[in-house]
Symmetry: D2
Subunit: 441 residues, 4 copies
């Protein structure tokens, strides 16, 4: 083992009364909620990039973490050391899944061939690690945004050679994900957008992106990969505008390219808020459109206009989100991936544990509260009752196409209708939610 985390004992569930800061208080992986264990419901994943690759640098300052594997002479042996540490961390934390980009786990070489060789070698090591530890892959992805060649986009680049380069990366990363039995493959288009319309052919770039997505789906079927393909919406940052702005935008795009039954979305909390939506809005929207795939669980800062990628810690917000997920039937291939990073001032090894423990406890508690809301059923009954008219004669005629616009006008005039407003009871319903969250159980 790596030794880096040796001073930290594997994290255990100790219950709400524990005052051990390095134990779970709410996440009991074996607890049965809505017919499955919490482990099965939540499908927690730890990401590779923020935790093991990022050095703590931001736009205004140098790295602060100084992990042993961050500097050294031989890139490949550093990558191996990093993977040992990462899997040790996953195991000590007790997360069942992990997630990665191709060049998180393997160093880029000086040519595409060398890069692919490095990646192939590290995939083998990851497969072995998975086998040794029982850890599973929630999803893999390719880093089509970090290198200089992608500065003006990958699939949407003005240069088709860059498209080809990106395609080659995705082909290898998708096959790697297949090999590692990843439950999903994710596409986040960090540079698939524009900086200014002055130098951009918006329509052409979207055509390129549509073709790229079709290629990925075609390849998936060709190689027999059964996992889900997911697009991760984000409105902006690093680009001024990203084409996969939010779930509704992605849905329009998917329909245009005939992909609405092939690709779902991986919704990130902080990306939702950057797009001007609540997280639960994005979940409800994706669910209503049939494209809810997986979740990047984190949180943004309502006062800061960039992706802060903090660990989720708001049980009230997450309860509403989990309620939408439960109503949608829960995760199938998806899960909660912590696409989260430490504050750069949290420089110790144990901070990685505090952060993930807090995130996992928050999501577990929120999920249990949401399950209570769901099982208790009051909210749903209120909503069903509110729309009851649509199950009756007039509503069914309208939706069933039995009344046209003129027919509706005649109906209204003949009856001289004067519909009576009914209270929407927003405040009462908000209290109802808090009653479940702050009960004594």
């Amino acid at each position: 083992m790596s030794g880096y985390f040796d001073h930290i004992a594997p994290v255990r569930y100790e219950g709400p009364d524990s005052d051990n800061p390095l134990a779970f208080r709410h996440y009991d992986p074996e607890r049965i909620v809505l017919g499955k264990t919490l482990k099965e419901q939540l499908r927690f994943a730890v990401c590779y990039w923020h935790n093991f690759c990022w050095d703590g640098a931001d736009v205004f300052g140098e790295g602060t973490f100084q992990r042993p594997w961050h500097s050294g002479a031989d890139a490949l042996s550093l990558a191996e050391q990093k993977m040992d540490v990462a899997f040790d961390f996953f195991a000590r934390l007790g997360a069942p899944f992990w997630t990665f980009h191709d060049y998180d786990i393997a160093p880029e070489g000086s040519t595409i061939r060398e890069s692919r060789e490095n990646f192939a070698r590290m995939i083998d090591r990851a497969a072995q690690k998975q086998e040794e530890t029982g850890l599973q892959l929630l999803w893999g992805t390719a880093k089509n945004f970090g290198a200089r060649r992608y500065m003006a986009g990958a699939a949407t680049n003005p240069d088709p050679e860059v498209f080809a380069y990106a395609a080659a990366q995705v082909q290898q990363a998708l096959e790697a994900t297949h090999k590692l039995a990843g439950a999903n493959y994710v596409l986040w288009g960090g540079r698939e957008g524009y900086e200014t319309l002055l130098n951009t052919d918006l329509k052409r770039e979207q055509e390129q992106l549509g073709r790229f997505m079709q290629l990925v789906v075609e390849h998936k079927h060709r190689i027999g990969y059964k996992g889900a393909i997911l697009i991760e919406p984000k409105p902006q940052e690093p680009t001024k505008h990203q084409y996969d702005y939010d779930s509704a935008t992605v849905f329009g795009f998917l329909q245009k390219y005939g992909l609405e039954n092939e690709i779902k979305v991986n919704i990130e909390v902080n990306h939702a808020t950057l797009a001007g939506h609540t997280f639960e809005h994005e979940l409800a929207t994706a669910s209503s459109l049939g494209i809810l795939g997986s979740v990047d669980a984190n949180r943004g800062d309502h006062q800061n206009g960039w992706d802060t990628d903090q660990y989720p810690n708001n049980v009230e917000e997450m309860t509403l989100a989990c309620y939408e997920i439960i109503k949608a039937g829960g995760f199938t291939t998806g899960g909660f991936n912590f696409d989260t990073k430490l504050r750069r001032t949290s420089i110790d090894a144990e901070d990685l544990f505090h952060a993930h423990i807090g995130g996992m406890d928050t999501m577990a508690l929120a999920f249990m509260k949401a399950a209570d809301l769901y099982e208790q059923g009051e909210l749903q009954r209120f909503v069903d009752n509110r729309y009851a008219g649509w199950e009756q004669d007039l509503g069914q005629k309208i939706l069933g196409g039995k009344l046209d616009l003129a027919g509706l006008a005649d109906y209204a005039v003949d009856k001289n209708i004067a519909p009576k407003p009914v209270s929407s009871r927003q405040e009462m319903l908000e209290n109802m939610v808090n009653r479940v969250i702050f009960n004594r159980n």
Copy 2:
């Protein structure tokens, strides 16, 4: 005539050197730009609601305008007086088009029947006014958001009777628009959204909205109306979240309900900025999706988070917008409608003139600058050149489906490709635009 504006002479074009604040300095309606007169290109419309209905009240204070037609005993004769004043204003300003909601021009009665009678009567008067003045209708619409009955939505209301009421209003307003030879019919869903997901069935409401739109399109064809049906996107306000969030969202919605060839968008500047987009982004997006219909020309305040509906006065911003409109081929049925309101401290009759003159001069100057940009062609040549690779062998193979993902990976590896980044020249292009805007012509 009404007398209210008698002290203000009809507004004339006097050229850039004029220092008459009540003359046009840039909007010369007969000037030929890109093969048509500016009048034909810009198709300016003055809206009825902000100018003649709104009394200057805001959430924190009472009305300030105190127009003679704002208070009095008999609603119908006030409505007639208001229409006289409005058409007098249109004529003195020299705007070729107007726009209205049903209950802008007619008072709501105590029953739906009475409301329809009032509206029918005022439509007749409007038809007569149009004939007398030569003024044309850019678009009509129904006010499906102001009345108490619509507090929880119109088409998306939990009560199908409210849907029927809204349908009756739209049927009459659409037929009125047809009768008045309106070039378009607009739907803005001010309450078609939600306040909280707790009391909302998101999927059901969207189904209702989809059916509503289909009904409108079916009725349009049935009555032989040839104008365009337009949805006006807005992300929020008054609701927390409005379903027609932005152009991309509307496009996804239209596809879902098979309406993408039937309905276009009416894009408002301030709605674009509230949705986190530039105005030119919304135009370029709608154009690339084939749904660019018309424009509500106004401006928001970048520091204030609500719809301020100010008059456009930023030539630089509007030049970029007009450039997108010109690239899209210019308006067909659409035009520039000033969905704008006076600051509530601008209480005099002449303020209405200052405001519209400023807006029309801004748009005219911006359109001429954009035409210069377009005719000069440098920007377009830069863009064409930037993507030239996509017209060559590799690009054509990718877009033509001649290379699959594995084929692309083989290509990349066999050639050991290392695409060379090329400067995107954003700053140079921004200078190029300013060179056209601030030339001496």
Copy 3:
């Protein structure tokens, strides 16, 4: 009594397990927390304006509430009816305090004299009501923003006659507050800002505002009023920019006019968030500057850019806020005033109860959780320990003026210092807070 609320029983504390939606689950007024009853700690107040004056209208739609006292022939008798209803509501809810603007309780007359007479008459009635019910006044204020005359400001108006009018209103409202034994007098400058710098003399307006505040303070002392004078910061809305932007801005203003020991701030949650701050930031800032006075407890919507004035329902957010208040020593003259309004679709009498019960339970629970945090002391110990160096030699020398810049440079160079970064433990501390909020007690 008024009869309007007769069907709703007085609200009682029934404990966390109650499922009576019209009972308190957390607000037990007699429970002792940190040495006082919750009633004494929280000092809840119900506001007059949103609850009894506002009719549910917004910018896009008409009133929805249709309370009996909203329409009728005689303004004064409607005002009396409204006051009866209001005091009945206060009593049934069990709030110990109320708050009002002058023209909330009295109708404006057609002249200033008539307005003052109306107000004087209603003050007498309020005094009698207070005596009958035992209810107390948390604060009074004057409505210097609603009337047309204030459209361009009150104290900051270009016309000194408007200043005089506002002064007369404040003089009467301040004396009324004195008479009603109000604990504070609040000044919110809804129109004390600007719409555009083009027509504004910023410096002059601030001088006017400074003089106005001095006049109020002088009058307070002259009449022997012992309550606190409070300014309520808000960054914008209705104006583009309001001079009392946030607590730090107000502090700078107060110092400039020699008022920093005379005036404190009344901080509103939603005003804090509109200014780009968390609520707890505004509290901590005001506390650190010695100007924390009172609180308008509500919440904004993080996705909407205007003052939504919703009822507080986020226990986690409010716990952090209460923690700052407790650290500051708790309220003296201040309290939690619910400057909150129903969603306009919550049209029933009982919605007013649901809303306030939710708000009071949220604040009570948050206060108890914050008291736990405070008494447990872990957070404070962490902070004290973090800054311990400042209590030692070097720190004390720096703060005590014993080392100048050159001396500090010498110290650094002589010792060749290399300070060692220490983890800030943000994630651990966030978990610590959640541990207290979601414990089982």
Copy 4:
């Protein structure tokens, strides 16, 4: 010379009709405007950090610029090469001033002593360069935010040793600025703020910051430096909240520590907009408070919530800003520093020229337009007239303390005053501004 820019000819003024993209079209340094040359009025400075230190990396991707001086074995000789290139750029561009941080021009060593030696050596070289080229220093500053030691603040760090380190840096940088005859010394507290209140002693940190500022001012006087000390406000980023939030906040802080006559502000456009203000608001505020020092000319992106630091290109926005500067008397020690960076896709040497030429032409044109507005005087006359009442009897009595609150109330009641609202003419004034900007001259 460095050779890097040899292919680019020195930039000349060629007038508005030039189509040479590498010439000035508006910035004619010798043109007399308001009694001085444009060179003297605008005092343009080029910054060292974004142009010569930054490698094009962002949070999501690696460096893109690959300048020759960005990598190599010997840090000091790279620094020398960089300085040669920088001064060559300044000269070819024709900017009269430059700006720098200590560790922009000198590499940090492994100890504070080595860092100071490096810096001392590079200061000598800079002095020599200045002498050779005639270039002047607009301001110097110290980089108290980039190094790991500053991750939790410099002056506001929990560790007084870090304060001492920062003090040593500022002492040397201030003396260097003195030696280089810098017109100002700037303090930007990139980490002087907090990430979470949970680990922060807000009051203590502000005391530390206040003492730090006093130390700097004391040292300035001690060494006889006559330039201005400036604080650069920024609301957030990199920290969640920065103490120097905006000009009004800084003014409150300065008064608290007795520094309001010693320190002014350096206002950055993009920092203003991040704080929720227009740039002209910040200028007008600082001017009205007597603390307007200098300007960082750049622009933000209204849709993106981080500091994009783009080059100014909006003449209309900058005209309003320059108008405030001219009304304030123009710059004394201050100037326009381009704290701007290339888009990371603008990778060529010539992009640095396009960008600065665009920025300088924008500011020059805006300044000339603002001078026209100022000389023409219409705006000022409107404003003076609007407030004329304050120069008359009632206004003078109020401001002169001749009327107290009771006296004002008596005045209002005795006269039964009913002040008459007057139109604020916002739209007319906006047109007036556009008339000047888009005249033919």
